[in-house]
Symmetry: C2
Amino acid sequence: MDYKELNKTTVLEYVANVDSVADYFATDELEVVEVGDGNLNYVYKIASLNDSKKALILKQAVPYLRCVGEEFLLSRDRMRFEIRALQKFYSIFPSFVPKVYHANEDMSLVVMEYLDEHIIMRKGLMEGVVYKNFSEHISTYMAATLFYTSLLHISSGEKRALVEKFNGNAELCKLTEDLVFSFPFMEHETNDNENVKENHDAQKLFLDMEFKERVLGLKYKFMTQSDALIHGDLHTGSIMINEKETYVIDPEFAFVGPFGFDIGALLANLANSYVHHSVVTKDEEYKTWLLQTIREVLEKFSEKFLSFWSESKNSALVVDGFLDGAALQKYKEKFVLNILRESVGFAGCKMGRRVYGVAGVAEIRGIKDSKLRRRAESMALSVAKAFVMGYDKIQNCDEVVEIIKNAG
Amino acid sequence: MDYKELNKTTVLEYVANVDSVADYFATDELEVVEVGDGNLNYVYKIASLNDSKKALILKQAVPYLRCVGEEFLLSRDRMRFEIRALQKFYSIFPSFVPKVYHANEDMSLVVMEYLDEHIIMRKGLMEGVVYKNFSEHISTYMAATLFYTSLLHISSGEKRALVEKFNGNAELCKLTEDLVFSFPFMEHETNDNENVKENHDAQKLFLDMEFKERVLGLKYKFMTQSDALIHGDLHTGSIMINEKETYVIDPEFAFVGPFGFDIGALLANLANSYVHHSVVTKDEEYKTWLLQTIREVLEKFSEKFLSFWSESKNSALVVDGFLDGAALQKYKEKFVLNILRESVGFAGCKMGRRVYGVAGVAEIRGIKDSKLRRRAESMALSVAKAFVMGYDKIQNCDEVVEIIKNAG
């Protein structure tokens, strides 16, 4: 099928021919509403007029950056990888991924479950909402998606098939290479240059060669280390949440990359939330919950990853009988500690990039009072620096929490 | 074109329709002789009867392991990757790779330059032949093929295209995973079990969990670290040589893997040759040349790799201006030291696997006197162990040479 950009009217015509969607709505009358932030894609809510509980989302990519205009080209190929990742992650652990009802790579569109009772987690965190189940959910999601797409579980042939499916996601990986690992740490036109100008901290960061050498080491890992299928952009804006449920959305950056990148993205965003509350709300109780959540996410990730591993007796990596029981256990613990370390390293880059780089986060760049904003930036930078400089010496989750706590 | 197994007669019919071959031989009368060891593929020499200097090689893969029989299946896909690698490596540095005149992936065949004045290097080394130009040639070959297929030179998009071209080489990569990194270090039916039985050294090796844990770490790097396009099997049996020229052949194991694997394979095989001469010929002069060659290969590799790097101002990894001159230089030196370290680690696995694993080498397994053979095995194992246990602490090439020298 040739690509065609849909609108509110043609969306209805399109889904009328899709069996799974027709089955879902049966004979209901439907209405279509455009929703979503509209930065990149068109997002439509298709809702039943007969039953207010029944709705699906249709998301279509366009071959340009929508928020800028048709002249700013961005390949709609990204939807190909979003579709494949949604389906793969759902097949591993359906509880935490919206269900796909229909996908069409040629049309760059996907029809999926509508999450009407959930909000973007970043918003909830800024408002100081406590999500009791979050650490349990997200640690399961991360441990499962990473473990079950790695050579600790699948065969080398299956791993190669996975690499083949996502290898083409070059454009979005390049965005991460540039906008996470490079430009935010040097003079660059894409930076928040109003803030960089005559800013002593920014100039100091750009000249900190030891820090930048280590960022380069982490960038190299991002570019060459093919551990598992990762989401690729797992910040708190890619999580839909309420007090009961957690969903991970928008995996268009997915590719076979390093274990630690998703965990690091999440850690960085939770730490940024801690920075925000330290500077803005000064809500000690919430800050304590955030630190506890960070510890739980990391600890539970490790436990669950090891627990999945204990069920896989023979793997592409460890042939059954290669190591004795005690040595295998020791190997596994070192392996998971290494994931924790690399997660901390990536978290450092991710926190650093939010300070002066192109894509600021509401928690920091959104602070209106310039003095407070500077304080938040300086706190975020000090955590980023401690993470990047010390990640490979981290021994346990407590040390990670201590670094964040000591910064503010 | 459908696949068809050729024979001496149909080879002539086939090449009669290939322009590049017809041009090469012009109106000469031709004869076909089957050559090669015949383990895996059919290799034919197509020679001019008018001019004894004019000849080409036609190599065709068959879908089974030829030396065992048609019932032992081995996909002829391997020729697809050999063709692609020959062409890629030739395009980077033609002096050290046989020229391809014609290739046909569907027919699993390649027609290439006939190297009539060269012998397999392993044979020459066993006979004690000195190759004065070897370290210069092979260090250039390795530095060029590795550097120019890495993110230090090509874009991330070009790198992904390279991954796509070689990602399918699953069968041969799996052979390496099993036969280099796993089975030779545990009880396994593929091992040289006559020798393993009641052999104290073998039992000790199989129970050395610290060693095996580190082998597993190197296996993981082999399986997940996509630095550059590597030959994948660069032992001295994959090198055709004389005192003037050096050619690297048989790259059917090629894939995008770790920098250190080819260098490690070569280092292991040169070290095995040193072991052989220490135990069998006791030729001190030759042993000295071998050690000097090892040092030169490693040192010249590093120098040339750095020299290629100095010509690439901007790369996918290091955006121009990201580091200042001094920091960049320091980063590059650390980067190359890390390649050296990983090479030593891989060399340790490669030496270890030759002792009891399925594919023995003439230098050690070929020793008829069982007492001498045991001595050679024990020497090879002690180098393998020192390499694997200490590779990540190596500071320079001298330390590598010292380890080999101290073993015998």
